[in-house]
């Protein structure tokens, strides 16, 4: 049995996975598709026929991608930049929650018998899990859509983008931060100076990347 809502959700998903098509564009194209289906319905076609024709009139996703890319080649990089920011933010959240959890475990001696390796494993895994939860929640809030299922599916289609652009950048950042941290540790400065600089290290990147993400998101919105 043909379900129009499922068909539309699938179709939206294929559009959302295109790099050049923003969420706003998807919403606009969805309205167009629905208007077209309504008109064809009124002409006596059943919903499956109406959907197939409407979809064909709008054009195949690959063609749309090419057309939208012509409109603005920088949209691609805006989008990638956003995912890079998300990757770095994920890294920051992981580190922060990780050290927090580690601190809690040590302070309250939750696992007194556990060897350091077990403790470290728990610390890393819980941090990673937590950060993913935070990111997914953030994405849900930022990109609001109509139905729950729709939202979850749409978010999932974006994971390849995170892996492609977010994680490499996060890894490189982690390496750079780790190296500069080592240099700081071995420097001859006093304790206060060291504490102040680490405070700066912890505080500034999240604010910076959140701002960067926000700016990129706004720019993308305004272009659409």
């Amino acid at each position: 049995m043909f379900d129009l809502e499922i068909a539309i959700a699938d179709w939206k998903q294929s559009l959302a996975s295109l790099e050049t098509v923003s969420d706003d564009n998807v919403a606009e194209l969805e309205t167009h598709l629905r208007e077209c289906v309504t008109t064809l319905d009124a002409m006596g076609l059943n919903s499956e026929e109406a959907f197939l024709i409407a979809q064909r009139r709008i054009g195949p996703p690959c063609e749309l991608d090419a057309e939208f890319a012509k409109e603005s080649s920088s949209t691609r990089w805006l989008n990638r930049g956003k995912w890079m920011c998300i990757g770095i933010l994920a890294l920051i959240i992981t580190r922060t929650t990780g050290s927090l959890l580690y601190g809690i475990i040590q302070t309250f001696e939750i696992l007194p018998e556990a060897d350091p390796i077990t403790q470290a494993t728990i610390y890393h895994f819980s941090a990673i899990a937590f950060s993913w939860l935070v990111i997914l929640f953030g994405l849900f809030v930022v990109f609001r859509h109509d139905t729950w299922i729709d939202r979850i599916v749409q978010r999932l289609t974006r994971i390849p983008k995170l892996i492609l652009f977010g994680l490499p950048v996060a890894t490189i950042t982690a390496l750079v931060v780790f190296m500069s941290f080592n240099i700081l540790m071995t420097s001859a400065y006093g304790r206060t100076a060291f504490r102040l600089s680490s405070f700066g290290f912890v505080m500034s990147p999240p604010i910076l990347f959140l701002m960067a993400f926000y700016v990129l998101h706004r720019v993308e919105r305004n272009r659409a």
Binding site: N25, A27, E28, L29, T31, H32, R34, E35, C36, R57, I58, G59, E63, L64, E67, F68, K70, E71, S72, R223, A224
Partner: protein, 114 residues
């Protein structure tokens, strides 16, 4: 008559969209319908192609857009021509008439067969 070439459709999309919006604010689906109707079906656009055109016009500052809820409860993005857009349309008009007049000198006026 054979289909109008893709290049010609692409080139005429800008003045067409501007002309339609000059008659009042409108949204994607209605614009496509209008094009189809006015051209008597001779201009067959792939519907999706319209949106990059609209977005480019907006980026160039010729039109503005706003999401509105229609009476049917459906949310539509309406586009509206602004002052800069009206000027751009006047320029387009001059240019297209210049092309048309030149061609008409070679071909003569369109014979009316009816």
């Amino acid at each position: 008559m054979s289909d109008i070439s893709k290049d010609l459709i692409a080139a005429s999309s800008r003045p067409l969209v501007l002309s339609i919006l000059a008659e009042g604010e409108s949204y994607g689906y209605a614009i496509i319908q209008e094009v189809r109707e006015r051209s008597g079906g001779q201009l067959e656009w792939t519907d999706g192609m319209l949106y990059p055109v609209l977005h480019r016009l907006q980026r160039n500052g010729l039109i503005t857009s706003k999401w509105k809820t229609a009476d049917t409860g459906r949310k539509r993005k309406y586009y509206r021509l602004n002052t800069k857009g009206k000027k751009a349309l006047a320029t387009e008009r001059q240019q297209w008439f210049a092309v048309h007049e030149t061609l008409a000198q070679f071909w003569g006026p369109d014979p009316c067969l009816t």
